[in-house]
């Protein structure tokens, strides 16, 4: 108990370095690498995977604003409207918080399911914003694309989340009640 209180009271040292560094690395991966792999619609949405990780495992203060900032970073490297992904990732963190109460995120099957649903909803929401701007690609096609992106992202989450836990542990970030102090 005392240990948990001590972990929570520590000032997070890596929060902004993780969010800003991660956001920029993902921007490079998305703009320079992923399009060369010729994955078609099965291109994983790494930003959504990262935002979901923050939503599921970050401390109370390390979820909302970091998800928002991550979304803004993504918006800056895209020609879409600024704030689109920021709003979507903020909502994703809310949904992740709700899902965490029902499903244990330390089980990989649960991570798979949550990532599948989370990335689907983020992309579906983004298409909704495109539709509002008059740039929709058709709902049936959008559904197929969202499902393809979600199907590609969920296995990535299963692979990456344990690695992320390991990295945070190595960095000496405290963990209490299943939440990392970031």
């Amino acid at each position: 108990m005392i240990q948990a209180i001590r972990v929570r009271s520590q000032t997070p040292r890596y929060r902004w370095r993780i969010v800003a560094g991660g956001g920029l690395v993902l921007a490079c991966i998305h703009t320079l690498l992923l399009h060369r792999l010729k994955l078609g619609d099965f291109t994983p949405d790494l930003y959504a995977v990262f935002a979901l990780y923050l939503g599921l495992f970050a401390s109370r203060q390390g979820r909302y604003v970091p998800c928002l900032v991550l979304g803004l970073i993504r918006d800056f490297f895209s020609i879409g409207l600024i704030g689109s992904y920021a709003v979507l990732f903020s909502l994703l963190h809310k949904a992740a918080g709700r899902a965490r109460r029902k499903l244990d995120p330390d089980k990989l099957l649960n991570v798979f399911i949550m990532c599948l649903i989370g990335t689907f909803l983020v992309n579906f929401g983004y298409h909704g914003m495109l539709v509002i701007s008059g740039y929709g690609v058709g709902w049936s096609r959008a559904l197929v694309r969202c499902a393809s992106i979600a199907a590609a992202s969920a296995p990535v989450a299963v692979l990456v989340y344990p690695l992320a836990h390991m990295c945070l542990h190595r960095l000496g970030v405290g963990r209490s009640g299943g939440y990392w102090n970031i």
């Binding site: 909302y64 020609i79 690609v137």
Partner: protein, 294 residues
């Protein structure tokens, strides 16, 4: 117990980031003419673009011997790439002229062009398609100018910095362009009988990239696979006769035909492109041009 009423201030907005973002989003929508979002994005991209374009800021005379050799080499490389681009453009024009022989499109004059290298491919969103080029306002590039490779349409300039510009590719869902469908086997086709439509991208990714569609084609229009799709100067945004692709299939929908197009170029492999210095004419100029045609 009544909660103390909170004042709407910057501190309050910082504590409610979702509200702040919604306001930001609304501002970006409401103030499209100021293009706040685009300007902000341009600022973030400037350091990256400068790093990639290898433009030396130091005057040539102050450079050391090694640096001068490097700068000379860089200039020679740029010259070679420009000549290569021009060569490929001329070859492409020749190819297009042969494929559309007999029609007047291949002979239609092309506006002057600025060669540019592609710095970044891709977009951080899986739904959008864009790339960055290393030429900007200083080279005479303005927003909305068409971007081509040879005589093939690639996109249009979306935002411009001093030495860099963002190009919205034809496969982006926000891209729209008036097009004509031309039958290469029937060079004597009457202009009034040509099928018209609006080209729209769907942000598709490879290997289906770019998958394009022509919308608003009237039902009953005679469209066959293998027909050529070229730009129309109806809106004045793009010059007449830029190649877009070849008709792959037609799907009848309620009230119109959906025409799927095989694009002429793989946009992911582009290295050098040309920005056509073509300006959209004013509405009065367009009206006069239409009157002259009639």
């Amino acid at each position: 117990m009544r909660r103390p009423q909170e004042k709407l201030s910057l501190a309050w907005l910082l504590r409610h980031p979702l509200v702040a973002t919604c306001i930001l989003l609304a501002l970006t929508i409401v103030l499209p003419y100021l293009r706040v979002g685009e300007r902000l994005k341009l600022l973030t991209f400037l350091p990256l673009a400068h790093a990639s374009s290898d433009v030396s800021e130091t005057p040539y005379e102050e450079l050391s011997e090694d640096e001068r050799v490097r700068v000379d080499l860089q200039r020679e490389r740029e010259r070679v790439s420009e000549l290569t681009a021009e060569n490929s453009r001329l070859l492409q024009s020749l190819k297009d002229a042969n494929s559309l022989s007999g029609s007047d499109f291949a002979k239609s004059p092309m506006p002057p062009a600025v060669n540019a290298q592609v710095i970044f491919h891709g977009d951080s969103s899986s739904w959008r398609s864009s790339c960055w080029i290393n030429r900007g306002r200083e080279a005479g590039i303005e927003e909305g100018m068409p971007v081509v490779a040879g005589r093939t349409l690639i996109g249009r300039v979306f935002m411009v910095g001093d030495n860099e510009a963002c190009v919205q590719l034809v496969s982006d869902p926000g891209f729209a362009c008036s097009c004509l469908i031309v039958d290469p086997d029937n060079p004597n086709e009457v202009a009034a009988d040509r099928v018209r439509g609006v080209l729209r991208g769907d942000g598709s990714a490879m290997p289906l990239f770019p998958r394009l569609e022509l919308e608003d084609v009237a039902v009953g229009a005679e469209v066959k696979p293998g027909m050529h799709v070229i730009t129309n100067d109806y809106s004045g945004q793009f010059p007449l006769g830029l190649t877009v692709g070849v008709v792959r299939e037609t799907i009848p929908q309620a009230g119109f035909l959906e025409v799927r197009i095989e694009a002429s170029l793989d946009l992911s492999t582009l290295e050098v492109v040309q920005v056509l210095q073509h300006k959209r004419p004013e509405i009065e100029e367009q009206a006069l041009a239409l009157l002259k045609k009639k």
